[in-house]
């Protein structure tokens, strides 16, 4: 079926099977490969992107369902050379190691801060409950998000 997807501000007209998951439309059709797939069961959050500014797991959304909506992946987060505060926070606090959960974690954190700009450490831990990381033990991820919140004041 023919769909019009707006991703990172650019409209794309694509032709995919109705069953195409948003994550596959992003990765395989549009070659936007930052967004990763880490599980089959909506558990890990590696595929998290924003739809109209809110975090969703793109492995559990049909591409067809977000036709006409605005999708943001990590590739679209920076404004030119200026990083989003969450990207900078992850860098400054060493909030990533292998990098695989990172795009999803970053997008989940962006959505979290949009809804709660001044979170406590506990808010951050619970706000990221849908994103699994196997490398960092989350310690520095929490620090990164708090640092981003502080920087965005």
């Amino acid at each position: 079926m023919k769909l019009s997807l707006t991703v990172n501000g650019t409209q794309h007209d694509i032709d995919v099977e109705p069953r195409t998951l948003l994550v596959h439309a992003l990765r395989d059709t549009l070659d936007l490969t930052a967004t990763n797939i880490g599980c089959d069961t909506t558990s890990c959050g590696a595929c998290t992107v924003l739809v109209d500014g809110e975090s969703v797991k793109s492995c559990t959304v049909l591409a067809a369902s977000v036709a006409g909506q605005s999708v943001t992946t990590m590739e679209g987060l920076a404004q030119g050379d200026t990083w989003h505060a969450v990207q900078q926070g992850f860098r400054d606090c060493h909030g990533l190691q292998c990098g695989f959960c990172t795009p999803g974690m970053v997008m989940a954190a962006v959505s979290l801060l949009a809804e709660n700009p001044k979170p406590t450490a506990d808010d951050v831990r619970h706000g990221l409950e849908g994103n699994l990381c196997r490398c960092t033990g989350y310690h520095n991820i929490v620090a990164a998000v708090l640092s981003a919140a502080e920087a965005s004041k």
């Binding site: 998951l21 909506t42 959050g45 809110e54 049909l62 959505s111 409950e129 849908g130």
Partner: protein
Amino acid sequence: MIPAPFDYVRADDAAAALAALGEHGDEAKLLAGGQSLLPLMKLRLAMPSVVVDVSHATDLRYVRTDGDALAIGALTRHCDVAADKTVRQELPMLAHVAELVGDPQVRHRGTIGGSVAHSDPSADLPTALVALGASYVVQGPSGERVVPADEFATGFLETVLEPDELLTEVRVPLGVAGWGYEKFTRRAIDWATVAVAAVRRDGETRIALANMGPTVLRAAAAERALATGAGTADAAGSADEETEPGNDVTASSDYRRHLARVLTGRALAAASA
């Protein structure tokens, strides 16, 4: 993990959804937020040949006070229920429970009607709604009917909904005097191992149990005990009577029974505080 092929129909209002269901009957599945259906389809445990996407049916997305009840459109998302001022003020338990569903991403897509219609016995909102004495408005080809929440589920993932019917609204009576919701999980993101909702109103207490059988159950023995003057501890001790909890990797049936008793005690304590 990819769903089997299907035809896609987008229905952007209730009328279009009903028309699509009328046309495709039991070949079709309604896709609301998709947070329960799509995982089943990816595992190919559900293989509908037609998917009717109602995620943009904004006419079913609302919260309004309607007499002595709160009326919530079936396609109102969990995050919207949790954040809604009226819900938070009039039915704080519902806002609290909506925030316990899944994780933020799931709450950004999942809907109250989707959760109710999916009828998973371990789901939070159906459990809370049974304790709250909610009812569900169902539209079909022959008009509208209203089903009490505790008569809605007929079995594991099965409900009274006919293939050509659409759940349009959740109605929750106001006037809650006290409530408690206790969810036990291994991890924040997990489905409830066991959850207990207790709601006190008009001198009566309703207790609903998640994951203690094939459907959300009332803790009937505990409710009877309370009605006949038993203390909360005694009543909680009978919370698992007439239940049939399963064994799985998360918990044994025995342990679930124990949890049901402990959590009922806590929920009742919160409800009477």
